[in-house]
Amino acid sequence: MEQFNWVRDRWRQLISGRRLYSAPDSRSTKCSPELHNTQRLTGKRRTVIARHGTHHHEYHCISKGYQGNRIRTTKYSLLTFIPMNLFQQFHRFANLYFLFLVMLNWVPVVEAFQKEITMIPLVVVLIVIAIKDALEDYRRYRFDQKINNNTASVYSGKHQTYVDQHWKEVRVGDFIRLSCNEIIPADVVLLHSSDPRGVCYIETANLDGETNLKQREVVRDQPQRCSELTPENFTARIECEDPNNDLSRFRGFMEHPGKARVGLHNNNLLLRSCTIRNTETVVGIVVYAGHESKAMMNNSGPRYKQSKLERRLNVDVLWCVVLLVVMCLTTAIGHGLWLSNIKEAPFLIPNAASPALAGFYLFWTMIIVLQVLIPISLYVSIEVVKLGQIFFIQNDVDLYNDNLDSRIQCRALNITEDLGQIQYLFSDKTGTLTENKMAFRRCTIAGVEYPHEENARRLEVYERDEDEATGRSHTLKSRTSAKSLSCKSLSCNRSSVSLHTLTDHAEEEEPPSPIMHQQSPFCSSMEKDIAPDPLLLQKLSGLSSPRFLLWDASMELTYIVDFFMALAICNTVVVSSHNQPRHVVKVPEVSPKKLKSLDDIKMLFQRFGLPRFSTLSPTHTTEIAHSFTGKLFATDKAASCNPTPSKNATEPDGEPNPRPSLPSVAQATDGDQECEGEDKGSGERGSWTGLEDNMVPLNMGDMSRQELFISKPDADELIYEAESPDEAALVHAARAYGCTLQGRSVEHLLVELPGMGSLVVPLLHILPFDSTRKRMSVVVRHPLTNQVVVYTKGADSVVMDLTESAESPEQPDGLMRGHVRKQTQKHLDDYAREGLRTLCIAKKVLEEEEYEVWLKHQVFAETSIENREELLMESALRLETNVTLLGATGVVDKLQEEVPETIEALQRAGVKVWVLTGDKQETAINIACACSLLRSTDHLLTANCGSKEMCEALLLDLLKEVESREAERGDAPDVTSGFTLVIDGRTLDFALQEDLSDNFLELSRHCRAVICCRSTPLQKSRVVQLVRDKLRVMTLAVGDGANDVSMIQVADVGVGISGQEGMQAVMSSDFAISRFKHLRKLLLVHGHWCYTRLANMILYFFYKNLRISPEVP
């Protein structure tokens, strides 16, 4: 059946392709030859120029092959319905078989039944299915109509203005003006935004179900940035890739008439069916329309997987065919022999045929007579039964999540019974076993650990109250998710359906209510309200304290400030505020307050923040320093008369829950004195106070004061919309310490620092996170020192490696860095043991020249079209070297409810559970213990090694150990203890190699559980593939994030958890659940029922058919 489905799909594509896409090579002969050349040269690219621009003739030549925006998802038209539908129906094997039998009955010599009667069942089936198809197609047609007739504001050359046009009339090269909350009708390159910073926000809920806002930028170097774009004057030519279905990739460049090229990338593209948010008007030029838009190319039908039972059934049916043929042959031969023995039969119908021929005829007659032997109706029946089973699974109250108001989604319709046959379960950890609700727990900065005990207590309270706390926050949460759910559940169906929701969505669109936006992803109060560590708070308050110069630990202070700065800005969080729902906080008007104190702090930073100053000879500058210190002290005293900013910073308004009171001034003084005492030994640091006076005016010249000093925005309740919960947790943590991210634009960040008010941080670059680098970086111009600073945040393993190279004793601060590194590593290990997720924060200061050099490469990478990703990656790697470790954070991720019970139940049912995670080994083991995957009685086997030979030896050793222990234990297997293999990513790489994989599998077969830590997405899928193919077992993979997608796709059954990390996992899964605990009932109850019921039905079908067939006369 698989082949038939495949053939059918291919055919459908073929048909649709033929009808929908006009051949691209059918260009008009009027086009100039040089144009032809460019077309040919660019190969797999498309050129877009403005439709109403100056090059009318050229436009027509180029755009001839491009599709319009009219979409058509129907399969048939009125004329083609009957032949096409019949043709498609006869691609079903069952129908063909019936047709064959009917036709056989029309041959007089083999006729067994009345011809007309035998046709009835086939005709009825065909008609019923045709009616169903026709209705479906009609529905699709109506949806298409509805969408095609949506209106959009398109520039018209005739009227010289924007007029409303139907979506279907939009062409490639049209200019479209969209306003807030409008749905984008086609893939559009953003050319103008009403936002002064040239950004625009879109919500991609219709595409992938993610409700957080994504920022898109206007194409760089757009001449008319401020004024409204005039399409007539738009002469640039856009070259981009041919239409493809990769949502996250768009490459191309825009060529201005002056031959200046500007690179285009994904951030410039507005995708069809997304919604514009928070931006008044945007204008763009259409590059892909209709079926060539990325959203439409991504619409594929439901997944087709064949279950194991069905494969088995196919074999059985083949045996039935063999049996039928044998039976018919026997009859035919017997008939021939019988006839040849009868010489003269008086009561026989005279038959002219020879016995052999008569036997041949009888063969076919018997095929007709015994046709029921082949249970062809079984396939239809199975499909009906499975529909029923899916109905029951989807309607199970136990698989319903109250908090999200979501049911289980069955995306693959025909593998329900495989759920009952799972032998190996591969699970992701984060978001699957755990909540993926990250809460900042503790941190270490500059080698000093801050335990945040208050915070720990707070988290415990939250855990306890979890169950009761379904009140405010959860209702709000469900509100947001319910909105996106309609799209989620339907997007798995046919394209037209998802498009339908798109239109509905537009109609339902209501003015965003404040309730809805109070709660955005990753913003439950557990994640938001962080109780600061008193000691750290004290140290930080030194920044605003009037006597901060008395405190000599300034080096540490710079570390701390840099650390929180990194937490606040090294991310892609979008900030919106309560009063301006989902609007980016506007840069507020300036205020000259606190000017003096800020100057001082700037100077402080210039002294301490820059390691290169430390190379200055201490003696040389001592005198100047002394005088300067006095000056600083005086000015700062004056500044302290102003209302102290630290109050605002450390206690953001509107935080409802109680938190520890701030340390009083007296305490602060104590703390300062303590620190003073601590750091007295490091005398050399005092020398850094030697600062050249002339640095101050230099910096002031670069950046006007007006720009620097900005008052706090009026709305205090900021809402952070992050792509991952870690990011949100860290931003909230920084905020708790007064480092508040207040706004973001393409080129600036607005950050409030304690004691300094709001600062504008010029954002130079963001090097986004990817799973190979395992880190992200931002390049900013430091607001205080005006230097180019790189902040890097990433997995401890990679960041630690990056800092390693920086550590050398020759450098004066090398000692300090080495100390920080050593201490931090120690703390990281502690955190991991505690089960915390760790992230390291590092920074690097770039020389201007250094930056210039790098910038050149980066710009080249950004503008290149061919292998932009590789170049960007290379560029990022070049930048992220030699960084200074600032500290690390520990983020707690709570285990989901009933995970231990579920794992235990699965293990009792004989399912082997493997956990594949990207976390540290200690973290993974800790979590494994917490979810009872690893019991105290278990024997832990750890595999960590550096080379292939070692890995081989290790595997053999472990195998031997396991076998000897098993032999020791004797025949009676102890249920309470078993082996658990823990393997890290590097070792896994070796173990997965061809020659070692057998040993690895052999070892893992002895283990009750396997934990693979530090594994990459690719490794995850390779592990699953290895186990599935080599052991020939049924595998199930469950995960929630994009990194689990490959694993989910490889496994026999893929389960996606619709959690916090977007919808990629769900989109690629067969079943989508919302909690891990649902697996228990899904596998052990529904899977079992589905399998037994279906198996019994199939057996009964065979019995029934064998039973009936001889009774047919």
Binding site: I349, N395, V397, S478, A482, P1113
Partner: protein, 338 residues
């Protein structure tokens, strides 16, 4: 409260049907149920088997071949088929009384009434008395549809044409041959006689057959099948109906007559008997045999030892299995079973 509604908009209905909680009973096949169950079933089967077997044993059957293969047989002379209206006798002696109501059957062997083409070659419309089909028989009757291509055959088809046409007379030899009365009424199925087969309403019946011809093998047309009883003619003749009810197996017997009369109400008394056979039906060419069968019946029908034996075997197997299971259970008792 609208918020509350929204919150649970997707919640599945908590009904017995959707949650699969409809009352159901699924037997737990534990040893405690299965072993006694097997014993009970086995005992019941053995009981039924014994009853069936004894009943079957008490049924008397007398079966006599009269094909005339052996030269010693009286019917040898007729078996060649050369003598028209050949009569032969079949003698037999009863030492004991043949008890109860005695039925008279004729039997054929190696005769495939179940052959598909044999069974299909019938015009059901014609047989239900539709005169249109008297003149226009269905094509399925071919080649017994028309004679000379134009005169329709009634009743058409192979089944009708091949009707068994030997006749029997039974005599008890006391001093002279004393005819034993045979009753041919009500030997066909009620549904055949009253529903499936009807004569045309035309009177006299003969007129309905105008323009038609009898099947080639029949000595007399359908309306003259029973000269003694006018109501037993045409398409509802009892012997015709019995023949048209096809046998499933190649060796079969069909009811010919019931033995009646005051002297024979309680069976055939001991003595010598003879059956006078009008030998018409040729079976030698296809290696078939013809038999006469006398039998009485019981509540379970005719003599059939197999049914009783089958019940006994299955019943004893059940008992044996229960013993085996008991031994297995006693030896490897699973701890969870308690």
């Amino acid at each position: 409260m609208p918020k509350k509604e929204l919150e649970t908009a997707n919640r599945p209905d908590n009904t017995a049907f959707t949650q699969q909680r409809l009352p159901a009973w699924q037997p737990m096949l534990s040893a405690g149920i299965v072993i006694p169950g097997f014993v009970l079933i086995g005992l019941a089967f053995i009981g039924i088997g014994v009853a069936l077997f004894i009943t079957s044993r008490n049924i008397t059957v007398l079966e006599m071949d009269y094909t005339g293969v052996e030269t010693s047989s009286d019917c040898f002379k007729c078996s060649a088929g050369t003598i028209p209206n050949c009569l032969c006798n079949l003698y037999f002696t009863l030492n004991d009384t043949f008890p109860g109501q005695v039925y008279f059957y004729y039997g054929l062997t190696n005769y495939f009434q179940s052959h598909r083409k044999f069974g299909v070659s019938v015009d059901a419309y014609q047989l239900s008395g539709d005169t249109y089909y008297f003149t226009n028989p269905l094509n399925v009757c071919a080649p017994y549809q028309f004679v000379n291509g134009s005169i329709p055959i009634v009743p058409c088809g192979l089944s009708a044409n091949s009707m068994f046409n030997d006749t029997f007379k039974l005599y008890q030899l006391v001093n002279v041959s004393k005819p034993v009365p045979l009753d041919g009424r009500g030997i066909a199925w009620w549904s055949d006689y009253n529903v499936k087969y009807r004569n045309p309403t035309t009177t006299p019946l003969k007129n309905a057959f105008n323009g038609t011809i009898k099947p080639p093998c029949w000595p007399k047309p359908a309306y003259e099948l029973d000269l003694t009883d006018p109501s037993n003619n045409g398409l509802v003749n009892q012997d015709f109906l019995v023949w048209m009810r096809r046998a499933a197996l190649p060796n079969f017997r069909k009811l010919y007559r019931r033995i009646t009369g005051p002297d024979y109400a309680s069976g055939l008394p001991p003595g010598n008997y003879t059956i006078e056979i009008a030998y018409n039906y040729p079976t030698m060419i296809f290696n078939g045999r013809k038999k006469v069968v006398l039998s009485n019946v019981s509540w379970m029908g005719g003599k059939n030892d197999f049914l009783g034996v089958a019940y006994l075997v299955v019943g004893s197997l059940c008992v044996v299995m229960s013993i085996v299971m008991l031994i297995v259970y006693a030896t490897f008792k699973f701890p969870e079973d308690g």
